[in-house]
Symmetry: C2
Subunit: 250 residues, 2 copies
Amino acid sequence: MTHLRVRPLIVESVRPSEPCAACEARPFSVCNAIDQRDIERLAALAVSLSVDAGRTFIEEGDPAEHFFNVTAGTAKLFKLLPDGRRQITGFASMGTFLGLAVSSTYAFGAEAVEPMRICRFSRPKLRALLDDFPAMEKRLLEVASNELVAAQEQMLLLGRKTARERLASFLVTRGVCAGNGAPACGHRAAEKVTLPMTRSDIADYLGLTIETVSRTLTRFKSERLIDIPNAADILIRDHAALRSLATGLH
Amino acid sequence: MTHLRVRPLIVESVRPSEPCAACEARPFSVCNAIDQRDIERLAALAVSLSVDAGRTFIEEGDPAEHFFNVTAGTAKLFKLLPDGRRQITGFASMGTFLGLAVSSTYAFGAEAVEPMRICRFSRPKLRALLDDFPAMEKRLLEVASNELVAAQEQMLLLGRKTARERLASFLVTRGVCAGNGAPACGHRAAEKVTLPMTRSDIADYLGLTIETVSRTLTRFKSERLIDIPNAADILIRDHAALRSLATGLH
DNA sequence: TTGCTGCCTTGATCTGCATCAAGGCAGGTT
DNA sequence: AACCTGCCTTGATGCAGATCAAGGCAGCAA
């Protein structure tokens, strides 16, 4: 609290530092529904931004003026209760499209858990573009459908799984789909799972407390299911056991 | 178990008893994205079916060969764990579109909680139709987006709300949006909330047990928040108190 | 170096809801 | 009427995970 923040909270560069055509995230995002010769129209709408770790770039309840596409880093998406209880509804990494909602306000907040780059689009302008590119609209529907399936899986976890099952599910899902910043989701089980988020984030994602998350991971370690070389990295030692725990088998 | 079931489990009538043009559910469903002069093409694909109460008409994990549209009655959508634990992820009533998923198998099961009428569409045929009607694809994206928002709200409920808050949220949401088979969702608070599902369904929807649901409703009654003339009907006596409970205020 | 801060771990205790158990009631069958 | 059966309610007890409390450790500023 000893000095004023003089830097803008979000560093803007209206011209994307690298245009959509060369975007590393494009293969993983809805943008790849637009082919090479039309990509300029998309690039004209995109505003590339840096977001510092810890920065909230979507505030729940604010007017929803933009869509976002994550090009690097990780964000947590969350909803709050008035007394501060928090539910993290998901993590967004490279390629994730944010802001799908009919409502005029954001239904959730978003905060960077590590330094991020995001692409920002004006809602009305992107909507207009979508009218010309039904292929992209189709991709968005696919993305939304997949997220719905994931959301239902998460409801099962939150409503009916034990703490051990929740952590096992979390590690298995992360291991398969979000390993080490390689979001290609190659469906190969990773040896090492990197967790850019804190224990508190994991707790709020799984509907537990930070203490339960810590204790459960420690117990997994003593059971030789995992190793914890440091808090941010988990080594999977017994994939089969974790997977069967995750699906509710004992 | 004393006699064989001779009736087919689902009564089919390939010609819809009433064509799409006259469908009561159309104003509430994605079908209204197709205008009057093209509606025949949709009608040609639709197969209208009756589903008995208690009948499972979507089996989780089965090949996803159809889309469904609910035209009357209510279904519960659910996911199961191998040991029988169940999470109900939502209830589908008139106008609800079911089966949105990229995967080739259904991600959830569906069972009628009261007698239903549903419209069934072959997946590949409806997909082909969608290519000709981007307006309907757009509507589907809207529907999916709204369901995502609802799913996130449900995650907050399951992960962070107390039993009292869950029941209050349930009653308030039902009161506003699903009152008495009038799914117009007129955003007017209903006096009476009709619950076609059992206490066990409510418990599996809210991540609680049947006993906790019963006890909590009884307590609401003793606190003059509601009346329970019979198990299926709840009279809301103090909307404001329920709403503030639902949002986590005490 | 010292001290501070944020994050994580571990232990002791508490509690909200689950579990176990029993009984009530409405609707249907014999 | 007598008897199921399915569903709901109510009471007694138990426990998984929350809460309370304390200490460890890495990174960083003074």
